[in-house]
Structure formats: C-alpha cells, structure tokens
Symmetry: C2
Subunit: 585 residues, 2 copies
Amino acid sequence: MDLDSIKSPEDIRKLSLTELDELCGELREALLGKLSAHGGHIGPNLGMVEATVALHYVFDTPDDKIVFDVSHQTYVHKMITGRIKAFTDPDHFDDVTGFTEPRESEYDLFTIGHTSTAVSLAGGLAKARDLKGGKENVVALVGDGSLSGGEAFEGLDFGATLGTNFIVVVNDNDMSIAENHGGLYDSLRHLRETDGHGEPNYFKSLGYDYRYVAYGNDVAALVEAFKDVKGIDHPVVIHINTQKGKGYAPAEADRETFHFGAPFDLSSGNPLRISEEPDYGDITATHLMKLMKEDSSVAVITAGTPGVIGFGPVQRQLAGRQFIDVGIAEQEAVALASGLAKGGAKPFFGVVSSFLQRAYDQLSQDVAINNTPVVIGIFYATMYGMNDVTHLGWFDIALISNIPGFVYLAPTCKEEYLAMLDWAMKQTDHPVAIRVPGVKVIERGEIFPTDYSDINCYSLDQKGRDIALIAAGSFYSLGEKVVELLKARGYEPTLINPRFLSGTDDELLRNLEADHRLVVTLEDGVLDGGFGEKIARFYGTSPMKVKCYGIRKEFADRYDYASLARENHLDPAVIAGEIENILTK
Amino acid sequence: MDLDSIKSPEDIRKLSLTELDELCGELREALLGKLSAHGGHIGPNLGMVEATVALHYVFDTPDDKIVFDVSHQTYVHKMITGRIKAFTDPDHFDDVTGFTEPRESEYDLFTIGHTSTAVSLAGGLAKARDLKGGKENVVALVGDGSLSGGEAFEGLDFGATLGTNFIVVVNDNDMSIAENHGGLYDSLRHLRETDGHGEPNYFKSLGYDYRYVAYGNDVAALVEAFKDVKGIDHPVVIHINTQKGKGYAPAEADRETFHFGAPFDLSSGNPLRISEEPDYGDITATHLMKLMKEDSSVAVITAGTPGVIGFGPVQRQLAGRQFIDVGIAEQEAVALASGLAKGGAKPFFGVVSSFLQRAYDQLSQDVAINNTPVVIGIFYATMYGMNDVTHLGWFDIALISNIPGFVYLAPTCKEEYLAMLDWAMKQTDHPVAIRVPGVKVIERGEIFPTDYSDINCYSLDQKGRDIALIAAGSFYSLGEKVVELLKARGYEPTLINPRFLSGTDDELLRNLEADHRLVVTLEDGVLDGGFGEKIARFYGTSPMKVKCYGIRKEFADRYDYASLARENHLDPAVIAGEIENILTK
C-alpha cells in the first residue's frame, strides 16, 4: 500500500492478515531507508515491525493505551500513527524524536528514554482507569534487556496485584544493547526452548497469567495472541520471541553493532563515515586493560553499556572474569562496587551521566556512608553530549557533589584524566568519581600530579589580580579562552583548575581576597546545586563578587549546542565582556 | 549459660544442639528485657534469634561473611559477637547502634539501614573473594519485605551468575513493616504451603539452587540446613519461614505494631508512655481521607511505610482501593504516581525523606520530564528527625530542588501545610513536593493562601531594613526568634517565608537591594546544593551580603540534636550575634 496514505492505525485495521504481512515488509523497507541515511536505533526497530503493527491492529489505540519501555523501538509506531513522512521524506526526518513524545502525538503517552519504566507507568494508567471506571486496555511493552532494571521488577510486582486488565508484552530478542547478563536470562531461554511451557517461570512467580508466542515476527501469530488477551480481566504477560535486526542480514549477524548506529551503506552495512578520532571510551579501556593485567583484583563494571567504556567483545573476552556486566542495573553496579571494594578488590564502574541518576541512594548509602574506595567514571557529563531530554548529562555535579564523603574529580584533559584515574584506583581512603572531560578528547601534553590525596586542593595555574576564573573540567578550555581575551584587554586574570567539584579550597579562596575583586566560576553542568554555588556561598559575606557560569535549570530537548551555549552566555567573548562590565561598574 | 560470658561465636560453637536451643531461650529473654526497657525493632529481632545463632554456629565468622539486609534484625548477632553487655546492662544499652556498624565489630561488614541492599553488597564480597582466590562462605540474609525493592532483584539477578559459593538466606516471616504487597508474595506463600516444592519458584527463575526450611525458629533444623550448604560451590537460596515477634505473645498477635516500638510493659505489651501530641502522619491521613471521600480519583500511595502518613489498618480499610501500598519500592511509587496523574487520577505519595533518595531518577524522568501533577509529601525532612546515619532527613532539598520543573514547597506550620496540600492536589500544572514541616506539629492559627500557582513567589511577612531573613519551612520559627532578638537590639529586620525551595523570587530579592545590606537564609537541610546557595548565587555580583545557615555536609550519626545545632550555629542568639557582627563590620 502507499505508506504515505497511512494517517492513523484506522487505516491498517481494515487490512487482511495477508495485506498486513505485506505492509510489514513495506514498513521495514522504508524504515531501513531512513535508518541507513539518518542513523538511529536499528536492531530494536527492525525487530519490532510486526509486533507494533499487530498491537495497533488489535487494540483500539489511542483509547487503548500502549506504553513502550525506553521507547527507542517506536519508529514503526510513529510511522502508523500519523508521522509517516518523518520516515519516508528526508526533509522531515528530524520532525520526530527518537522516543515517544506526547507533544508529537496523542498515541505517545510519556516522554521516555531510560529503561525499565514502562510497566510502572502503565500500572499507574491502569490504576487510574480502575479508579475512574474506564474500560480501556492498558499495555506495557518491555524488552528482555530492560527486565534487569529494578524498576521493571517493582513495576511487575505491583502490576500483578491490580486484579484487572493489564497486559505486559515482553519483547524477548535475547539481547540487551550487548548480550544479556543475569540469572533471569537462563530462565527466559528455558521458556523459549520449551515453547513457554517450562518452569521456573519468572512471570508466573510474580503472579501473572502467561502466554508465549514463539514467532514474534509473524504478524498473524501476534494478532491472534493479542486478540486473545484483548479485554482480559486480569494481569497477563505475553512473552514474544522476536529477532533483533530482523530482515536486514548485517543487523541480524551483528546485533550489538547494529543496536544503534550512524548512517550506513545499505548494501554492505558498513558505516558511511569512520571516525578516526580517539574516544574516551577507547582510552579508558586501554588504560583499564593495563591495570587489570597488573592487578588481578581490579574489576571493571558496566551496567549494560560496555561500549561506553570501550569494552567491545574483544576487550570483554580478554578481561575475562575481571569484567562484569550486571545488566541494565545501575543500583546493582554501584552496590556491587562497594562490596568489591570492601572485599579488597579494586572496582571501576563506568557509566553515562544520565544513567548514574538511577543509583543516587546506592552512592549515598552503599558507598559514601561506608566510605568504600569505589571508583566511578562518568561519561557524557557535558552539554556537548547527548541532547535528548531523557539523556542530558548535566545533572551529575549537583547529584554527586552534595553527598558527604564523595570525592568528585574534574580532569581537564586526557592526561589529567588518566593521572586521576591512576590515583583513584590506587588509593583506599575515599569513594571517588571522575568526570570524564567532555566528548572530544583534548590532549595537553603536560605532566599532571600523581597524587590527589590533598582533598579539595585547587591548582592555581596562572596567578594574576582583580579577576580569578575557576574553570572546571571540560570548561577549563573555555576559561583559557576568556583569560586570553582579558589579557588582550589589559587585565591580568588568575586562572584556577579546581580539580575537585565536591568542595572548596578555603585557603586558596581566602588568599584571593587580598588582590581580587571578582571570582568567575565555569562549569559544564546545571547551575542549581552545582559547583559555582559553593563558591558563591563561600564569599557570601565577603566583598568579593562571584559570577557563576553554567547551564540554567531546565530540560532542554534536542537542542542545538551553539544555541544552548549562547542562551547561557557560554561564549568567551560574552563572558569577557560581562567580566569587564562587572569590574568597571 | 551465663550470657555475659559470650565473648564471640566461638563460645557458642562448642554447645550441643540442646544447649543451643536453651541458649536461644535465654537470648530471647534478655532481648525482651532490653526491648521493653529501651525500645527498638522488636518483631524482626525476636523472629531472628534461632537463625542468627544457627548462622554463627555453622559458619566460621568472621572469616565467613554475613551481610544482613536493613540490619535492623541484628540485635542477637551483636549479643553473640562481643557486645552482650549492650543488651544485658542498662548502662551500656546505647553502646551499640540499631544496625550493623563496622566501627563496633569486625563481624559487622557494612553500615546498613535502607532495605534491599544486602544481596548486592554480599555479591561484591563474593566476587572480590573469587578475584583474590579466597575460600570463605559469603552469606546474604534478606527479609521477605525487602525483596520488593528493585535493588534486591538486581542483586539476586547478578548473584546467580557468580557461579561460586553464594548463599542467600531469605528470612520469610510473611510481613514487611505492615503486610506485604506485590505479586511475588502469593508465590512465596505458595512455596510455604508446599513445603518449598511448588512452582512457580521466584528464586529458581533467577537461577538459584533452592532449599526450604519450614521451621525457621527451630535452631536444629536451621543448623542442619546451613551445614548442608556450607562450602557449597554455587549460588543457593535458603528460604526459611520464621515468625515475626516469635516467643512474645503481644508481638506475635500484632506484628505491625511491634515491628518497631518505644519502651513497653513486658507483661501486657502496652507502651509505657502514650503520646497525646498530634502528629503530621495523623493530620495527613485525616485530611487525605476527606479528599478521597470527595473525589474517587484521589489515590494515596505508600512504599511499605503506611504508618508514616497515618494510615493504620483502619484507615487503609476505609480508603479501600484508593489506598495503594506498593511494598518497599520507592521507584515504583514515584513512577506509578506519574502514570496515575497522566491517567487523570490525583496521586499523593507520602514518603520519609531518606527513602525518597531511592527514586531520584523516577522523580526526574518519570515525573519531571513528563510534568505530571503528582504530589509527594516528604516526612522527617529535618535535622530533628531520625538521627541514625542511614536515615538522615537533610538531603532532600539538594535532591529535589535542582530537578527542573519540580515545585518544592516548604510550609512553616500545620495550617500552611494543609493549604499547600489542598492546592497541590487540585492543580494539574506541576509536579509538587511538600516538605512536611519537621516532626513537632506547629499551629499558627493563621489563614494561609489557597493558591500557590505564582511559582517562586515568596511571602514578605515583615518588612524592615538592612537585614532580611529568609527562613524556610521548619526553620521559620528559628527566623522569628532571630527577628525578636534583633529587634531587641534596635534593628528592624525583614522576615520572609520563601514558601518555595525550588527557585528564587527575583523581583522580591532585587527589591531588597534598595534598603538591605545582608540577607540571611535559614534551612533545615544540608547547605551544599541547598536553598541558601541559590540566594548566594543570585546576589553574587551585588553588594548584598549573604549568609547561609543550615547543616554542613557530613554524615552525622546518632547525634545529639542540641550539639548538632550548636556545631552549625543554629541558635537564635548565635545567629543574631553573627548578623550584628556582619552589619557592623
């Protein structure tokens, strides 16, 4: 059929099963066209073509409600709910986000980007329906990879008690981003191997009725299964076995690489552009491999995102039992690290800034209160990282720096990062987090100290007068540029690398009062609760003026880097001008 | 035997099983003596007498390692690991904390107070052992109530993959603090009813070998079961069925009341002191009951602690399906609330400040990004609340206020709390958190506004000059006292109730610059990342001085309220004196 004629799921509900099957082929082809030209989540969407079509075919969306976990697999959902042009017309590719987005469509219920939340959110919709006397079906769709997150368990455990219509579709493609890890996955495999008849059955153990669909890419089988549970009066799990990357040979063959990707050549599957640039993941992996070789008690932990720290299949195999993937389970990663450290091992947990949020209590209770020397490397902690609203990397300073006992280090470049990493892995006095300095690797060619045990000791890199810039981590370069501009205007600015985000260097700050009138802080993070505010409070009753630069508290979405920088005055010339204004006022 | 002669588990390992049984009786009697005179966790400890004795009898502690979940059930553990006097000698009752504490004993591995962490922490110990070539047993003891927390699931899921010695003892007394909630609990009941032979089996579904002990208060049965798994070469769950409150009739009969309690009369079980004081829990429950009656879409949520919001068995029954206990699962509580709000219901989630930390990512992603009008009431958010290091209620302002979109309200008294609660439950524009003002109920007898939709609009309660106090929430009274002292010294201070912790009233603050020189902030929370720092940053480049009062960033433990207040200068006279010093400098 003419895909562009699909305005809503109504248009596909009149099709026969044979036509529906043909439609799936056409949707997949169109999807591949956009994916290869634009990039995105490849494998998850290819695997979900039939299930998505069958869901909308059977259920009366938008009255019936579907909540997609992570929602990175909703491209076909968008194609058949009024947004087809964003997939068939290159001029409109960026009209839609890569996740569900209520501002786009009434078929999208939540803005979602983190894993393991859909069952909980859908449980709330179902409970609201029951309180209000509604009759609609409520469906949560969750992938097997997401089941490793604690929130998914909590959501399932509660959902089973609803006692009313609640349909959980488990999209089992036997993969997380990389392979799955956890005892649960053996029992999922056993269910697949027994056509759903085996025991133990995780879903039944949580109180669910249970159905199994062996051919999760067979639209007719799915339609039958969904029809069977439509209007059901109690909680049920439909476990469907899909194939990640279905219908595209390179994606079927290498499911990890094709989970998410940049534009690629459709015939070969090869990426159109190969980056030759070094990457903090690779740098980290190379360094950790060396440390692991030297010390068999060094353990490297990931929560389902090994690629972030440069651990591809080769590195994982080489690291052997010193590499631990806990699945998408950040709480476990942090608490496990604490146990490892207490047991005398040397854990490093590498994690994306936005995902570390899932483990605040573990950072506080399991680690900081116990003062276990875990090391946490925090990646994409910058406004120049991921710009989807669900993946912003700006909130980690406010999150970590205000936990007592945590040492939060902010290296300014590759060399300082590795120096700090070495110290952190060697020492046993503190839990240490290291903010990997941005996305683009900066090398300074300098030698950095090997010892950071003098906690909160800032580095006075250039001593001047009147104005001092405290430029943290990835914004150190911004500070250097401001210094150059101020020098050109005849000022003699002081430049400080604070190195520590979690406290103030009281002696250094006090000494500045002798010959400085203004301190400017620069941080690549949200201003509220951040580093600069500690400096502002420090000087609260002093004549010293303080001006904080960073990002204002907001949820920006798919923003343009330059615009967000401009809106927040994060430009060397603007900052230099504002400094001059303050000094001459 | 003479209990005071027990210096270490070695002393009990030489006993026969009959003597061991007698010892359990003596330990229970001594325990009841302290519990009745001193208060504490009653039911959990009475139920664990035999299991604790059996664990130390069989395993070679401290070489073998036991991690207790929540660790509120470790009184007998402390009695037989060198701390017997803290239970038999009233002069030494306070020598020990109510939780495991490594500073007390090498038998205590972690400082623990939140639920659901033990399996994860023990998993780390086991993995460290494996990396270092150790041979010791690693045991995690976790209660059935704690299994509802996502971290426990994540810990079990990972632990199953260790492939080496890992022993999880599930202490199933069929109770959380109140009754259990969640689909899992039906299957645990089924296991108890089938003597462990039934399916589905949750633990097997996560990959564990499994044993069941029907008589979890029979020390001989436990010794046999533990001996059977000592030295085991793979992960195993020992599911033991114990009785909460075992051996004390009143505690067996009313397991919820006797979970934790103040001193009581041993013969009757009646509390020695009955508080006649009103309590924010009761006030909240009474008010919510009214709202629920008026609107059937109002839903009240707890995460396993209904008593905190005044919902005893009577209120729970009356509220019916409008009352939701998700189990100890704060992530679920927050995400569920978001789903409820999205579905048009009106959710209120009442939670202890320290436990809300477990749901930071849900506050940010599931709620704030989706801007769902959930209402969260935060209890014991004060330095005058719980003073165990694991239960500090001071970190919520830094946690919540820095999440974009969250409105965090700080009422100063009962009347303002209820006014804000009414507004929050009515409006649909924002997620709202309300900081219940301290522990002691303050009534002002004033009428407060019914509308708080003018976000970040502070209330200028007394207009003066030179010095302005911004006194937030439970510290408003402190601000009033400082104002009185300053007036007595001839000053005309301004007093502001900020009402909002999550932002600045820029116009009001700007206006103060005309005739004020100093702004003082008072907040009942940690200074770092808190409310005062927002004010300090606001005035950073202004001549206005800012002095922030609050609690310095540290993990205080079992502190004396007055001492902590003194250390932080939180005394009206001290503050007034410091203000005068600044003004006259």
